[in-house]
């Protein structure tokens, strides 16, 4: 009987989990800010406080994500793709592809029955298709990120964005506001644009039967609906889409899986 910790320092949000016997005991999310080391420390402290343990009680910790190098108390760093795949496999063993929509980029990962990565593509060249685009538009419209999903579902006439570029998208959104389009229609338009980009990523790794979603995008019901419509599939949505990589890292820390990649 032992406790394990997974820490995922994302470009926008840092997440952590503690598991015991494969069961999730606690999770915590904080903004990554500009000091990843401080974010990692904050996540660790909060997790330990919630379960009433000290760091010595944790048998092993694995760090992942963009800022994985800033977690001095981790024994090892693993790629977020590997950890997200492992995490989603734990929740949805039937998922064969994972669409991860993060703050900085999106990725599509193919997963085998054991939760191992068989193929993946990342949109890292550009903010198009990532949560960053949504953030830029939410800023223009002065909307809280968590309200984007519900608002967009009320759209009747989604705006069409001419390019996927987040910079041009920002000016287009401003123009549409001045033309009298509602924020609901603009948000629905952004979701369509993201779904188009993500669908292009999906076609690069090839079609699959069961898709799951993770990352901040998995919290946005409007984006989920847009992707489902575009791909003509039903997405498996975990209860906490943002912690999948951290959960996978903790499961890897438990080390029962044979790690051959």
């Amino acid at each position: 009987m032992a406790w394990y910790m997974g820490i995922d320092i994302g470009s926008v949000t840092s997440k952590g989990v503690i598991i015991k016997d494969g069961e999730l005991l606690a999770y915590h999310l904080v903004p990554s800010g500009s000091n990843y080391r401080a974010a990692a420390e904050e996540v660790k402290q909060e997790l330990l406080a919630r379960v009433g343990l000290s760091l010595e009680d944790i048998a092993n910790t694995i760090a992942t994500g963009y800022g994985a190098g800033n977690v001095p108390f981790a024994s090892q760093q693993l790629a977020d793709i590997i950890c997200s795949a492992r995490g989603i496999n734990n929740i949805f063993p039937s998922a064969r592809a994972l669409i991860d929509v993060g703050g900085q980029y999106s990725q599509v990962i193919r997963i085998d029955e054991q939760g191992r990565v068989t193929n993946f593509v990342v949109s890292e060249k550009c903010a198009a298709g990532s949560g960053r685009f949504l953030q830029v538009i939410a800023n223009v419209l002065r909307i809280d990120l968590k309200d984007i999903g519900p608002l967009s579902l009320m759209s009747r006439n989604p705006v069409t964005f001419t390019t996927g570029c987040a910079v041009f998208g920002e000016s287009e959104a401003i123009t549409r506001v001045s033309e009298g389009f509602s924020k609901e229609d603009i948000l629905a338009g952004v979701h369509k644009s993201l779904a188009d980009k993500i669908s292009a990523l999906v076609s690069r790794v090839g079609p699959e039967e069961q898709y799951a979603i993770s990352g901040g995008g998995g919290v946005d019901i409007g984006l989920i609906k847009s992707i489902e419509e575009k791909l003509q599939v039903q997405l498996l949505v975990p209860p906490q889409p943002q912690i999948m990589a951290a959960l996978g890292a903790a499961l890897m820390a438990r080390g029962q899986e044979v790690l051959i990649y």
């Binding site: 550009c126 903010a127 830029v136 987040a166 910079v167 041009f168």
Partner: protein, 269 residues
């Protein structure tokens, strides 16, 4: 930006106006035209031919004809530099490469899908750094070791610039890096046309001496810049207007003109 050029038959410029397009001007091409006529000291009836070009050319209801900006740019650039073979135009929201032979457009490449490699890239950086775009060029020339900007995406490059600043990189070195980034991206696009000299750079970004320098380095050849790099499209349009009129007159055909009335554009009738 909206530009107006009024030209006589000897191709001397009688009036020239450059101003931001903005949402208002989009409707009010007539106002800009009035201003230009005033500057030239002419009445609208005295204008023989009006050609509208550019992204918003349909918003000029009083134009006798609309011609694409590619054709007009090619003509304008060839009038400044008759030996031009490659013209590169970097504007506020797109970048174009034109292949020109004997003053005629023969091929082109264009990017209007991604802000990187357009003037917009530098505008975003000016906002981020709190600097005036006009000062970018001269400041960047003081650079001793330019910062390498590895992100293509404007948004990611913006974050990169902030990180480099916080790491203590100098403004000069960052600006030189940004100029190299935009020039590199445009150069890669234009190379698809097989760049041949003479190479001419136009558009608002050509006013930035730092980009001109970086463009020379990236293309490995001399880059010429006209005196008014923003005006090549409008000047080309005026020259084409003159040529159309003279051709019609030479053939004894009537010049098809609209009624000379300055009105706002109406989109919905």
């Amino acid at each position: 930006m909206t530009k107006v050029v009024v030209m006589d038959k000897d191709e001397s410029i009688l009036a020239c106006i450059v101003g931001p397009t903005g949402p208002e001007q989009r409707r009010l091409a007539n106002k800009v035209m009035e201003e230009a006529l005033q500057q030239a000291g002419l009445s609208f009836d005295e204008i023989d031919y009006v050609i509208a070009t550019g992204y918003g050319r349909i918003n000029v209801p009083f134009a006798d004809r609309q011609i694409t900006e590619l054709t007009c740019h090619a003509r304008g650039v060839a009038s400044f530099f008759p030996t031009v073979r490659t013209a590169i135009d970097i504007g506020g929201q797109d970048a174009k490469g034109l292949k020109i032979n004997d003053g005629k457009l023969v091929d082109f490449v264009m990017n209007d899908k991604c802000a990187a490699g357009t003037g917009r890239f530098l505008e975003v950086m000016a906002d981020t750094l709190g600097l005036k775009l006009e000062n970018f060029g001269s400041t960047s020339l003081k650079s001793t070791s330019k910062v390498k900007i590895s992100s293509t995406c404007t948004i990611f490059a913006q974050q990169e610039v902030i990180s480099r600043l916080s790491e203590g990189a100098s403004l000069e070195d960052i600006l030189a890096g940004l100029h190299d980034a935009i020039a590199g991206r445009v150069a890669r696009m234009v190379q698809r046309l097989k760049v041949e000299p003479d190479v001419v750079l136009t558009g608002g970004v050509a006013k930035n001496i730092g980009v001109v320098k970086a463009m020379k380095e990236n293309l490995g050849c001399e880059v010429l810049v006209p005196k008014d790099p923003l005006l090549s499209g409008a000047i080309g349009a005026a020259i084409l207007g003159k040529e159309l009129t003279l051709k019609a007159l030479a053939k004894g055909e009537p010049v098809l003109k609209k009624e000379r009335r300055l009105e706002e554009v109406t989109f919905f009738k």
